[in-house]
Amino acid sequence: MFTLGDLVQPENLETAYQILSDKRNNTILGGCAFLKMGSKRIGTAIDLSTLNLRYIHETDGFIEIGGMTTLREIETHTLLKEYFNGVLPKSVREIIGVQFRNTVTVGASVFAKYGFSDLITALLVLDTDVELYKGGRMPLADFLKKPKEKDILVRLWIKMDNCKATYLNLRNSASDYSVLNVAVSKLDDQWTIVVGSRPRRAAIASNASAALSKGNLSDTDIEGAAQKAAEELSFGTNMRGTADYRKALCKVLVKRAIMEVKACR
């Protein structure tokens, strides 16, 4: 359990960012699920829950998701069920339980860049931007590559295109972290293949995605893309699985995900 020196609920983002930058151990509070498992000594904890950052709505052809939106809201919101074959609800619905998802926030999940994150994998196959207070708006892929830096994840922007997508994973047991997760999307002729929980965090298999986009979507093409994805990405060993198994799983799950998207209307 963490300890706090002080806790503030700033009235605007500017103040929030100011306090965050003030001291090294000042921290933004998300759902606190992960913070609670450590023993961080927080100077000032910053609670953003009064800043109206909990919402999902349509804005100018984008789905705008506030940083304090819970995973349960991602799971149940009609807009997210309708778009992209419901890939976002699919990615979060198996995480622990309803009570857990009612407290955990999108902002914390994405900002922390967790390796095991199912949500990041799904977001990465869509046209997703993150909007940081200081860093501004940038594609999720760029954000994931950025070195760690203090900032506030204010909202996500997802383009409302007619992208078809799916999300698959394998868990050793239903409430466990994924041994591996996979998302695949198709927008017109452009395919995107993402693999996460490798156990490292989600990454785009760009060669595989490019190859698939150029091909005819024959069985050979699909198997080839899956094989490429397994070869171009790196996998690791931990308590939940070995690198070799993850690599083999990658082939299987990517192939299945591509077949699923291929069949999507």
């Binding site: 394998l170 047991s173 239903a174 308590m239 198994y245």
Partner: protein, 764 residues
């Protein structure tokens, strides 16, 4: 006595404490603790094996709010055991409250008592310990003859020979042989063997270990604890704290599960010694991490099973060779080991020779203890998997080979010493299970497309009911002045519902409504002696005592009733809350009888009392059937259906029996598929939270269906046998069998994870 027409027994009666606990009434240990009790925390060893060179608590003691800090220098020096076993315990006295030598990562180093948790934890950080780190023995397969000796101490004591050889790290040895197995194997047409590794499953009961202690108005130590064994705890504390047992009172309130974990003493001595030293109430609560890594678990084992049969499939020889990992302390080492053979070999009685040999070894890991099934679980996994292998080799249906070989009612078995099986419906259990799972159509497997294949597997198991010639229970039942009854037992209800079951039995005998009985249990001051809830004893042994006591009271009531009605004894009968003449023309209420006997001229409170042991331990049986769906490309095993058909004799309370079965099966499913135990290279347990150690959640379980095939056990209360443990044993072998039938992969190291299945397929 047949079950037809019984009013209480055989009814699915709601548990007497059900509504209160379901709606969150404050009736558990922590709820009852005094508000300002000192909070007790434990400083633990970071090393698997070490000697404390120096320990300095001076800075910690100075912290405001710290009341007392104890190290190995401040505690009594006499070794004891924490085993919940009848005295003299078949357990090494290898513990001290705090020892200079620490024997596993998490072993206790200092006890800290402070006004609140925050202070206690701050104080813990200020304690300075210097260790001489020693080479641990972490691999139980390397323990015998290892250079490191876990328990070299001179004062290591055993009450009688259990095969302890401390220089070899052997806590206990066991050997049992009837006939000449090697000769018999030579005669067999087919011999199969294999090696199995069941894991050190964690109980993961929802209420972690906790106790609070205080000194009462006469200076006695009162211990309120979440335990299955109040009387054993009292004895342990008396020895550990060097007090007469009469100065200790142990109380068990409502507890949140045990499954055997609470059949070993745990936190009581720490809170107890703080109360003795400070005079103040003390409360200790283990968090989930401590519960996973600093208490006890199932014994991990290596079992080599060899089974030989003739061409017709009659099993003629069985040989079991066991290595059991008892961890740093040996509470249940000997008894769990012996139960591996004890509760497996009697299944098949056409054998001409059987042999069981085993060693339980010390290692520098968290101790193993008692866990539902108690050796039978591990033994069943090994033996039943091997019998399934035998069936395949012979080209026989696995259910057929069981039906050909199982011991039947009225028969004896090689290791049975002539005792005849009083009851068994195992054959009917197997037939019924076959039908329910659809065995004929599904065995062994069928492809269902999309790289998925479905298959079925099965296993049988037995257990005991109480411990023959050792387990005893006493019960007392009183008719009170208001015409209601008080039933006193020592049985400990850990949620299973024995408080309710025992009341049902008393109500049945006395022919009274259950609502007129108040059951009091779990207080060493007032309860009659009972070993506690383990060895599947409450229904069979405590039940028998309750029936005997109730009968005695009934006779006395009838005698008094006859006297007051002015008729002879043969002319009266009990009917609800009255004693009436057989002719029906006169009656007297029990309330009136009580008034006249207790308050009036009778000078006699009517009481029934009985102590009951058991000369036999009649086995309950389960036939378990699993249907799985295996993904051939990923190795993921989905459990589609599990059927368990149970013979527990007469079913006293169908709902409670069914829940016991379902709960036990699901624990078995967890052991088979999901519950992984991992240690790092330095002996630290990595799977020490619900995040890492995955007990089954709702979605992991599929369908579990239970049926009962009642037999009638002549020695059992109303014909009942036990059910508590036997239900945990079939899932591992049945599911492993189904997985093999699906994809040809035998996973003998539990749990069966997708990766293991996948790797197995690669090797084919």
């Amino acid at each position: 006595m047949k079950k037809v027409g019984m009013k209480s027994v055989g009814q699915s009666i709601r548990k007497v404490d059900g509504m209160a606990i379901a709606t969150g009434k404050p009736v558990y240990t922590q709820d009852l603790a005094m508000r300002h009790a000192l909070v007790v925390k434990i400083l633990r060893s970071p090393h698997a094996f070490a000697k404390i060179i120096s320990i300095d608590v001076s800075r910690a003691e100075k912290l405001e709010g710290v009341e007392c800090i104890l190290t190995y220098k401040d505690v009594p020096k006499g070794r004891f055991t924490l085993a919940g076993q009848s005295y003299p315990e078949p357990s090494p006295y290898d513990r001290l409250i705090l020892d200079e030598i620490v024997r596993y990562v998490g072993d206790e180093v200092a006890i800290i008592a402070a006004v609140d948790e925050k202070t206690a934890l701050q104080a813990m950080k200020k304690i300075k310990v210097a260790y001489e780190v020693l080479e641990p023995v972490l691999d139980f397969e390397q323990a015998i003859g290892h250079a490191t000796i876990v328990h070299p101490e001179e004062d290591l004591h055993v009450n009688f020979d259990i095969g302890l050889q401390k220089a070899q790290n052997i806590a206990s040895s066991w050997k049992e042989e009837v006939g000449d197995v090697e000769e018999e194997f030579k005669q067999c047409s087919v011999v199969v063997e294999d090696v199995y590794y069941p894991q050190a499953q964690a109980h993961a009961m929802m209420e972690t270990y906790r106790a609070f202690t205080y000194l009462d108005h006469t200076g006695r130590l009162v211990v309120v604890t979440s335990t299955q064994i109040p009387f054993h705890v009292r004895r342990q504390l008396a020895r550990a704290l060097q007090l007469p047992a009469s100065k200790v009172r142990v109380l068990k309130p409502r507890i949140g599960g045990g499954f055997g974990g609470k059949q070993t003493g745990c936190v009581e001595a720490f809170a107890g010694i703080i109360t003795l030293k400070t005079g103040k109430p003390a409360l200790i609560i283990y968090d989930r991490q401590e519960t996973f890594s600093c208490t006890t678990s199932r014994h991990a084992m290596r079992l080599k099973a060899r089974v030989g049969a003739d061409q017709e499939g009659i099993i003629r020889a069985i040989d079991l060779e066991v290595l059991s990992d008892t961890g740093a302390y040996g509470e249940h080492a000997a008894t769990v080991l012996s139960c591996v053979g004890h509760y497996t070999l009697p299944l098949y009685n056409k054998t001409r020779a059987v042999r069981f040999t085993g060693n339980a070894v010390y290692t520098n890991k968290m101790p193993a203890g008692a866990f539902r099934g108690y050796g039978a679980t591990q033994g069943t996994f090994a033996l039943e998997s091997t019998v399934n292998k035998l069936a395949e080799k012979l080209g026989m249906d696995p259910t057929e080979i069981r039906l050909k070989n199982i011991s039947k009612e009225g028969e004896t078995f090689l290791t049975g010493q002539g005792v005849l099986l009083g009851s068994s419906s195992l054959d009917r259990c197997i037939e019924k299970g076959k039908e329910m799972i659809g065995w004929k159509d599904k065995f062994p497997c069928r492809e269902i497309g999309n790289n998925k294949v479905r298959a079925v597997g099965m296993a049988i198991t037995m257990q005991g009911s109480g411990i023959a010639n050792i387990g005893t229970a006493s019960a007392e039942i009183r008719l009170n002045d208001d015409g209601n009854f008080t039933l006193l037992t020592g049985a400990t209800d850990m949620g299973t519902g024995c408080d309710t079951i025992l009341s049902q039995m008393a109500a049945e005998i006395l022919e009274i409504p259950m609502e007129t009985i108040v059951l009091i249990a779990g207080d060493t001051d007032t309860s009659p002696y009972d070993p506690g809830s383990y060895a599947s004893s409450t229904t069979y042994v405590a039940g028998a005592a309750v029936i005997k006591a109730a009968k005695e009271l009934k006779d006395k009531i009838l005698e008094q009733g006859a006297k007051f009605l002015g008729v002879s004894l043969k002319d009266v009968e009990m009917d609800g809350l009255v004693v009436r003449t057989v002719s029906g023309d006169e009656e007297m209420s029990l309330a009136k009888i009580a008034e006249l006997t207790i308050l009036g001229t009778g000078n006699l409170q009517l009481v029934g009392y009985a102590t009951q042991g058991c000369e036999v331990s009649p086995p309950p049986y389960v036939a378990g059937f699993a249907e799985v769906e295996v993904d051939q490309e990923t190795g993921k095993v989905e459990l589609i259906d599990y059927v368990a058909v149970v013979d527990c004799g007469t079913v006293i309370n169908p709902n409670l029996a069914r829940i016991q079965a379902e709960g036990g099966i699901v624990q078995g499913i967890g052991m088979a598929l999901y519950e992984q135990v991992n240690y790092n290279d330095l002996g630290k347990m990595a799977t020490n939270s619900f995040m890492q150690y995955k007990i089954p959640c709702r979605k992991d379980v599929g369908k579990v269906r239970i049926a009962f095939e009642e037999s009638y056990e002549p020695t059992g209360p109303f014909g009942a046998k036990s059910i508590g443990e036997v239900v945990a044993n079939t899932p591992s072998p049945a599911i492993a069998h189904a997985v093999y039938n699906a994809v040809g992969v035998r996973v003998n190291h539990l749990p069966i994870t997708p990766e293991k299945v996948f790797l197995g397929r690669q090797k084919l």
